[in-house]
Structures are given as structure tokens and as C-alpha cells.
Amino acid sequence: MNSEFKRILILGGGPSNIGHEGEQDAAAYQAIAVWEQLGIDCYVIDDNAYSLLLTELPAKQRIIANPTTESVTRVLKEQRIDAITPIFGQKNALKIVQRLARKGVLAELNVKLVGLHKNNLALFGTETANQHANTVIAERLINNQIPVVSSTFVSNFSELRATLTKLNFPITIKAVDAPKNLQHRHVFQNMEELNNNVEDLFQQSPVHQLTLAQSVGDYQEVGIVAVRDRHGNKLIVSSLEDLNPIKVNATDSVIFVPAQTLTANQIQQLRALTFRLLDCLGIEGVCHIQFAIEQTTKTPYVFKVNPFFNSATALVTHASGYPLAMVVANILADQDLDVMQLPATYHRLTPLLQPVYDHITVKIPIWSFDYLTMANPELGGRAKATGAAMGIGSNFEAAFMHALRSSQPSPKDVLPSYSELSEDEIIQQLLHPTDKQLLILYEAINRGYSLPDLSELTKINPALFEIMKNILNVIQFVRKNQLRPEALAEGNRYGFGNGMFCNFWNTSNESVQNLQEELPSPKTYKMIEPTAGELSERLPAFYSTYGLNSEVSQLSSNSALIIGKGRNHLGPNTASDTYTAEMLIQLRKLGIKTIILNNNPNSVSLISELSDRQYVEPIQLGEIQAIIAIEKPAYVFLPGNRHYLIRALQKMKHSFKLIIIPPDQNTGEWQVPDGEVDVDLLVTKADVVPIATVGFRCRTDCNKHGLEEQTDYYVPAQTPELAQLTNTAVAAVQKTKLTGLIQVVFHKNSANNYELSGITPLRITETIFLNHATGVNWIRLLMQMYTSHFDISDVSQIINSDQFKLHPLKMQVVFPFRELGISKDLQRRNFEIGAWLAVDNETETF
């Protein structure tokens, strides 16, 4: 099997941020595995510090740089690349390939564009002003009888009036080419509102132009993810239905997979439109189409076409078990759906079988307004969520509860209550939904609001309120039937957690656990696969339900259960997800079977290639205990910030080794919370090996020395006293009982001398930076230490080898301040959402 290209360059998506976690990195990782099998060399250009590709690809195939027209052109030439793909790098990547195509660079270098047909490139994205590109795509679709939400350009009042006769209020208006801060759509409910503002809007546009469109804010949002190969074979992978209407960004909306309130006819119509769209746009690979469905006539309009991997494609991959990235990688390498070869765990025809499920998946967004209290939590057109959690269940209610429990911060699995809110506050929250939307809806239903009224207020399909009402009824039933097996069984059926029962019954986890063990139908696990049990697939992902038979048994006596991080809020979350992925890779290399528990659909660590078994479940005590009971793992790895879980698992009479993933917040010794430079060391009971010295910098104000404000990292550190600091660090570490990767932090005292600030396990973000800076995978050595596979002489050999050197590198934290519309003076480590890397050739002047 030969593809038309031998060396492909993948444009990375940059550091994680709002609406962008590890999902593209995950898809690219899966695609690369396929391409390598087909004999294709894969190169990546990215500056995402936490990209798994930047760690896992061979050194010469990873280019640490911000993808720009210039940097990409350079790589294309230097590496003699013959293909390029933008589908793992969001809009920025599309923009770059558009420019390269327009400038003739791709033609000149004979580089094949993969993932989008070159004739269609101009249709997508942002090369010209967004609205112009959208007009071109709209015309193409309209010519193919595909209804779209299209906009009209007007340059003066008479054109405006003429256009208005064709539209109904509410309408949206946008000033063309307006400055960035004014670039949003304004919604007008009537003529008066419009008249009051239209002059200003014309003023905002330097070309004195407006675009007008029907407002579809109240329309229902439904997505379709589909694939198409070069022959033109195509299939629908899944439908997705948003809880909220279009006016709330899909990133900020609860999503159901597959759609739950559409009739067969509606789905048939969307399917036909999708197929026509794929053909007329010549899509090859994956496409996510967003439809706006008018509420009364149910007419669907296309309002966004995303021909690349994104969070929707990630969600349907996890929801269906359909190997989307693998299939798309094959398509792009000229393997059609009916001939491509997947690993033997899949049925030969899985790529062609339109997925059908016997389970439901619900995604709930995660916001970080509890950390960023100054941000406006109201949900709207602009995405604000920092993460997502999914729940899978064998009925709608259970899927919903699994997702809800996974989305909440309570360590004990208790859902917050809003019963103290006044009627006014409830109504306000219903009209202007915030991150509290779901729980407010529960409260409103609980207070007996009429469901049609609620639907009118929120534009949410009343069927979804009925589902919530069922859950509330079961909560009532459980509350009334203290410690009754039938109440427990009913709660189990609807996805309740042990912590919830403890809370309802005011009892201990042990008593609930004991009652669970007496139930006739215990927790069972079902495979997440795309054929609803028709073909015998042997896929490694599972969710729990209470059914007749379980489809899992102990994987191996030598296994490790890794508890994932789950919900991504602010902080080093994508970093810890990549770290988890790296742990899985390294443990597997040590011959240990790996099992992951996680529920973040955008995470890299949950993809099926990285571990031997995946559980998509709430990360709560009851779930963990149930998995441990089946798997009897040799090791359990737990994130260092889950104090309640750590204590509970430590108390369990267990046969496994419990390992706390750094930083274990209960260890470490601090004298002064300041820092300017650190020494990173590998410490065992017998040995201390200094690795590197890393410099810190505060970005806003160089006079700030608080460690929390040091959000830039660089190597080599610029200090004349390196040797002395290293000696001090080694001596200091020897006085503690800490082992593993340890960081000794120094600050300058008033006499301008370096002084010890503290000793602590190296943070996850800094471990990944250390990997990049040294070219050594320290996570591998840590895993060896934890699992008694460690040999100190290996480390000495690495450190003393001629090849060991520090690469000049800097890492800067990324904050979501612009995205959330808040001030920039909060540059502290715990507000980070990602980080970018740069090869630092000018450290001196940095």
C-alpha cells in the first residue's frame, strides 16, 4: 500500500486555551500511528509545551516553533516535506496553509495538501475577513440546495432597508473589518433598537459596511460528524445535540450524543444535507457540521462547517468507540473506507459500519469562574469553558448523572444545592444562563416551575426537563427510603454515586458500600463500541451500568490503575494530562498493563492507543473501589490534589502500591515563598543526582519575587553561582526524606545573595519543561522508581554522557484573560491554562 506522500508535516494547534485542550494532539497522535505503519514519516511543528507529540516523536521530527508562514516554509524546505495537513491545528493552521497556497509555496515545493481539497481552501477560515469567506461558502451551499444562515453586505441605509424586508426580527448585525474589540454580532429585536445603533455600527467599520443576517440565536443546535473518502464513500459517525440554543457557544453547552429529541425524519434530513455538503465541498477526511434548526418549522440551516478535528470529533470518538482519527488518517493516505486495515481488535468493516450505540453520552462543560471571580460567568456566543466532563450511561438519566457528578468539584460526590436562591435570582439565571445553569434548572424544576414555561424562558427542549424531573423523583424516592436496597438499586440505575447516598442518608461510605454488595444486581461494565453488540469487537473502553452481565474481568495481575485528572479548570491541567499519557506509555514499556480512569473527552490520556483499558466513569471513591475490586491492580496512581481520595485509599486494606502523582501537596518544605532559580534533582534513598538549573521570571514586573508570580521558565539559568547552588541543593535534599524528582528553589535575599526558599517535588509543568530542556524523559525514570525497575547507574550514564546538555529553551505560561475579557494583572501560576515553548537562542537578552 503506497500513499502519494512520504513525509508529512502536521501543523500543531498551539498551547491549550479556552475551547482547546488536548483533543487535536490526541487525534494527531492516533493519526501518526497509522501513518508510520504505512511507512510515512511524520513531522510536527508546534509550540504547545504540553503536546504529547513534542515529547514522543523522534527529536528530528519535532520542530518547536510557533507555526507561521515563515517557520512552516522553512521546515518544508529543510526537511524536504512532501505533504502538509492543517486538520490538527484549528483555524490558525488553516490560515497558514491558505497563505502558503496563495503565495504558491506549496506548488513550488511540490507539497501536497492533505485533509482539504486545495480548490476548496479559500472557502474556510480567515484569510480574508471572515464574513467574505463565509459568503463564498454560503453561495456554494445554496447552489446545492443546502439551506444556510447567510449574511448580506450593506453599505448604506437604503441597502439596509431593502435587506430588512427579507428578514424577520430578531436580526444580527456585524460591522465589517471592525477593530478586534468591536468584532461581535449585535442582536436587534426590533426597528427601534436598530435605529438607535445603526449609525454607530457603520462608524465602527472602516469600510462603512455591515453584514446583516437572520438571528438564529434561539434556534436549536445540532451537530453532525461525518467522514468521506476519496472515492466519495461517506458515513455519519454521530449526531450531537446541544442543550442550549445557538446563542450559547457549543463549547459552553451541555451536549448529548447521539441526538435525543430529533425524529427519524429530522435525522434523515440532516444526513442527506450532510452528504450533499461533503460532496459539494469535496471534503476528504473528517467534517463537523453545525446546524441551526428553526424551532417551529424544524427547518435546518447550516451555520458552521469545521473540516478538522475539534472537541466535537473528540467527543463522538469517545462516545461511539468508532476509531475516527485512525479512519481519517487512512483516508488521507489514500486508503478508502472499504479497504483500509485497522488493528485486529476492530472488525474488518468497522470503518464502514455507521455507528449505532446502546448507550448515551452526555458532555458537561467545566468553567473556572470560582477561581476567576472577576470574569463574567454569563454564557453567550463566546466560549468560556476551560474543560469538559463526559458521562456514559445505559439510559439518558444515568449518562446525565455520570456527567454531572464528573463536572462537580465536590471530593465527596455531593451536588451543590441552590435552594436558598430567591425567585428573582432563579428567573434571572434562567434568562441569562451561567456556569450554574444545570443546577439552577434542577432547582427550578424542583420548585415546580411549569415545564412549558421553563422551555419558553430558556429555549431548551422540554423533553430534557422531563429527564431531569425523573432524576429528581428518584432523589425523592431515595431520600424517603433510608438504607433500603430498592432505593439503592433505583439510584444506581440512574447513575447516582455512593457519596450521594451517604449524603441523602447521612451515613458512612462503608455502610453504603456494604449495602451495595448485598444487591442482587451489582455494578456491571459494558464495552463502548460502535455496533450495539452486533459485531464482536474487542475494544478496551468501558462504562458502568447495573445490568445482567459484566464484560470485563481482571486484565492482569501486573497492572497499574491510573486515576486521571478529570475536569480541566485553570491550573496545570493539560500538562497533567500529558504527564498521565506519558506515565501510561512508560509503564507499558516496563511490561505493566495500564488501566486509566478518566472522563475528560478532550484528554490525550484517554485515547485507546495509550492504555490497555479505559474506564469512562466519574472519578469518585465508589467508582474507584469498584474498579479496584475487579482489576486488583498492583499499582494505583492518584493525582496529588485529591486529598479525600488519597486518605480513603490509604485506609483501604489493600494489596496494591499507592503512588501519589507529584506534586503531593502534603510534602515539601518551605521557608520563603519566593523564587528566582531552582535546581532540579533526581533523588533516591541512596543517591542524589543534580540534573539542571532552571531560571524563573515574572512577566509583568521583574521586582516581584513570589514563586506564584514566576510564570516564565528558562534554561540555562543565568547565574554565576551555579556550582555553589547545586552543592547547597544536594546538601539540603539529603536532610529530607523526599525521593523522586525534587526541586530546590532559591531566591535572592536583601543582601543580593542566593538563599534557600524551599524543597518540593518537581511540579508537573516543570517536569515536562525539564524533559524538553534536557532531551531526557524523566517521567520514564520516575515510573521505573515507582515500580522497582530503577537502576541509578542508568541515570549517571545519561547525565555523564557527552550527548547530555541543556538546550536553550524557554516556557511561558498562557492565560485565558483576553478570552474571558478580564484584566491581565493576574499573571499567577494557578491561573494558567497552557504554555508555549520557544527555543531560546538569545537567553542573554531575554
Binding site: G232, I267, F275, D338, P355, N395, A463, E466, A532, L548
Partner: protein
């Protein structure tokens, strides 16, 4: 909470709860894998005498709606599902699922581990099932003794001819238990449609002066059907364009010398890739198939295979070498796939137009 059992003819039983009608029921157990649309299946005459198990986990989310009928008379004998919802969100104040089933006397059972049930049914030879209050010996005896009616077509097909007027060509539809969507598709093409009872003979059809004949889908085993239909097909095919669907397709195959057998596990859904041989394209269509045409029984001098299901390799389409006859196993209404333009009804009427032109030339008009 009404405890009820789904019992299988091999002696297994599954505990669940009743909804809809609470009487006892017996039927052939089939598995439907549609992701959306339960009401269409419940009202599809093809499911006459059958108990439908849905793999989609929650049904009832969108209530019921008169627009979703495939026929006015409901045919299914029972419904098996994991989760049922009693939601009525239709503006027309239509019924919720439980009310709908109760009114039509269809028993439902829910809280069944449908995935486990499917896996069991696929690996054991299960034919019949009952939904009952007690799973005692008596219930199993009754299930074993139950003989499912072989008069299914008589039960669901129209007893009298009727006209769906249109300004276009006259098409006769032989009703073996048709889905309303067949009529909708022909009506879209302005056909003047005459639906006739299943046992209308050759003369009766010719006397209506049609330009083409559709032999509809329907329930049950093709080999149990009265020979009248086969004789009609044999006499019709040299005279008029024929288009067979589902059961109609199976009968056309038999009329041309092929044999039909019951499948180990049927296909009821729209997710299987089907290859159109001539174009090599792949499409997806609604399938509700329990019987398949034996590949070796096909006389290649008489029939050409036009469509094949890639998952189970079953024959999905045939064309006669000698006559203007073609047929498909799947439902051609609402087919979508590689060529969204694939419209077999249009192809059928097109073939009639071609014939009309040829005939006209022949007579020099």
C-alpha cells in the same frame, strides 16, 4: 412498578417492568438498531407478530406523533427496551409512548439489559418470546406451544383496492403490508397510485391498465405465502416493469427460481454498508430483513445481483436479465449514501417513460 418477564423459547427469562398494555403477548423476537425513531418501527407492518427489542437505550423522548406512522394499524406484538420515557412534547397534544401503546394494546417491558439480551439471542437460537407476569412452567409451555400465525399478510394488507390519485402515470401497488412511505415516494413523483389487495390476480391488475407494478414489503416468511402472488409475478414480469421491495424482492427472487432462507440474525436498522455493484458505491438504507436469498440458488442467466450488504454478504438487490424487473431488499425510500441522487422510485418511473417512448416508436406514433 409492574414486575413482568420477557421469556424466551429456550427457557431463559429476563425480569423487567411492564408499560403500555399489560396483557400477555407472544411473538418472534427481533432486534432493531435504529438510533432514532421508535414510532416508525412500532407502526411498520413488517413487524407484524413480532416483539421488537430496541438497542437504542431510551425511547419515548419525543412522544408520539401522527406524522411518524408507517401505517395506521400497529402491528408489533410487544416492545422491549432498557429505558422508556413518558414524554409528550407534541404541540398537537399527541400521546406519550405508554399511552400510545396502551391504546393500541401493545405490551412493553423495560428495565431490561438489552445489550445482554442481544448478546444472548445472537449466540443462542431464539425464535419466540413472550412478555408475561410470571415466568413459571405454564408460561413456558404456552410459549412453546404457541404457533405464530402465518396469515400475517392477510392481517395487515388492505382487503380492498383504493386509489391515491395523481396526474402522472398509473402504478399498481400490490399491498403485502406496505409502509406508508412507499406511497409517499410514488406520490412525490405524481403517480396515480392504485393499491390492490395482496391476492389480486394477473387479470385483475392488467384490467387497471397500469404502466408499472410495485410489489410492496410486508411481514412474514415468503415461502408461506399463497402461490397467487408468485403466479401474478410470473405472469406480470414479461408484460410490465416490476419493482419489488423487501418481501416483494424475496418473492421476485423465488418467481425467478431462487430460494429464500431465514437468517441466523436479522438486520433491522440503517447502519450496514450496502454496495451497489455497478458503480462500486456504498450507501446506507433502512433494512428490516429476516430472510435472505440463497446466493447459490441464483440462476445467473435469469438474475443479476445489483446490491450486496457488506457486513453479512446478503443479496440486497436483483435485476432480471430478460424482463424490466428489479427489486431491493432494503427500503429505497429515504436512501442516502454515496450518490444522494440514488432514487430507485425515480429509476422505476424513468424506466416506464423509456418504455413508453419505445412503444410509441414501435407503433410509429
Amino acid at each position: 412498578m409492574e414486575k413482568r418477564y420477557l421469556i424466551l423459547d429456550d427457557g431463559t427469562s429476563f425480569l423487567g417492568e411492564g408499560f403500555g398494555d399489560l396483557s400477555n403477548t407472544t411473538g418472534e423476537l427481533i432486534i432493531n438498531t435504529d438510533l432514532n425513531g421508535y414510532q416508525e418501527a412500532i407502526t411498520d407492518p413488517v413487524y407484524h407478530n413480532q416483539i421488537i427489542m430496541f438497542t437504542q437505550p431510551s425511547i419515548g423522548n419525543i412522544g408520539t406523533n401522527p406524522q411518524n406512522y408507517e401505517s395506521i394499524i400497529t402491528s408489533a406484538k410487544g416492545i422491549v427496551v432498557n429505558q422508556r420515557e413518558d414524554i409528550n412534547q407534541s404541540p398537537l397534544k399527541a400521546q406519550n409512548l405508554s399511552e400510545f401503546l396502551r391504546e393500541r394494546q401493545i405490551p412493553g417491558i423495560w428495565k431490561i439489559d438489552t445489550r445482554a439480551l442481544r448478546q444472548y439471542v445472537q449466540s443462542h437460537h431464539v425464535q419466540k418470546a413472550s412478555i408475561v407476569n410470571t415466568n413459571d412452567e405454564h408460561a413456558f409451555d404456552q410459549l412453546t406451544a404457541a404457533v405464530l400465525s402465518n396469515q400475517q399478510i392477510q392481517a395487515v394488507a388492505t382487503p380492498k383496492p383504493y386509489l391515491v390519485p395523481g396526474s402522472g402515470m398509473t402504478i399498481v401497488v400490490i399491498d403485502l403490508g406496505l409502509r406508508e412511505s412507499i406511497i409517499r415516494q410514488l406520490a412525490k413523483l405524481n403517480c396515480n397510485i392504485i393499491v390492490v389487495p395482496w391476492d389480486t390476480d394477473f387479470k385483475g391488475i392488467i384490467s387497471l391498465a397500469p404502466e408499472g407494478v410495485v410489489i410492496s414489503s410486508g411481514p412474514g416468511a415468503p415461502e408461506e405465502i399463497d402461490n397467487t402472488v408468485l403466479e401474478t409475478i410470473i405472469k406480470l414480469q414479461p408484460c410490465l416493469p416490476l419493482f419489488g421491495i423487501g418481501l416483494g424482492h424475496e418473492l421476485i427472487a423465488i418467481a425467478n427460481g431462487a430460494t429464500v432462507t431465514k437468517m441466523a440474525s436479522g438486520v433491522h436498522g440503517n447502519h450496514h454498508p450496502i454496495r451497489q455493484i455497478i458503480t462500486n458505491d456504498i450507501l446506507y438504507a433502512d433494512q428490516s430483513q429476516t430472510y435472505q436469498i440463497e446466493r447459490q440458488s441464483i440462476d445467473n442467466n435469469r438474475l443479476i445481483i445489483t446490491f450486496v450488504d457488506l457486513i453479512n454478504n446478503s443479496i440486497q438487490g436483483l435485476r432480471s436479465r430478460d424482463y424490466p424487473t428489479f427489486s431491493v431488499q432494503f427500503s429505497p425510500e429515504g436512501t442516502s449514501g454515496i450518490d444522494s441522487g440514488l432514487d430507485l422510485f425515480a429509476e422505476f418511473t424513468e424506466s416506464i417513460l423509456v418504455r413508453r417512448r419505445l412503444n410509441n416508436n414501435e407503433f410509429g406514433i
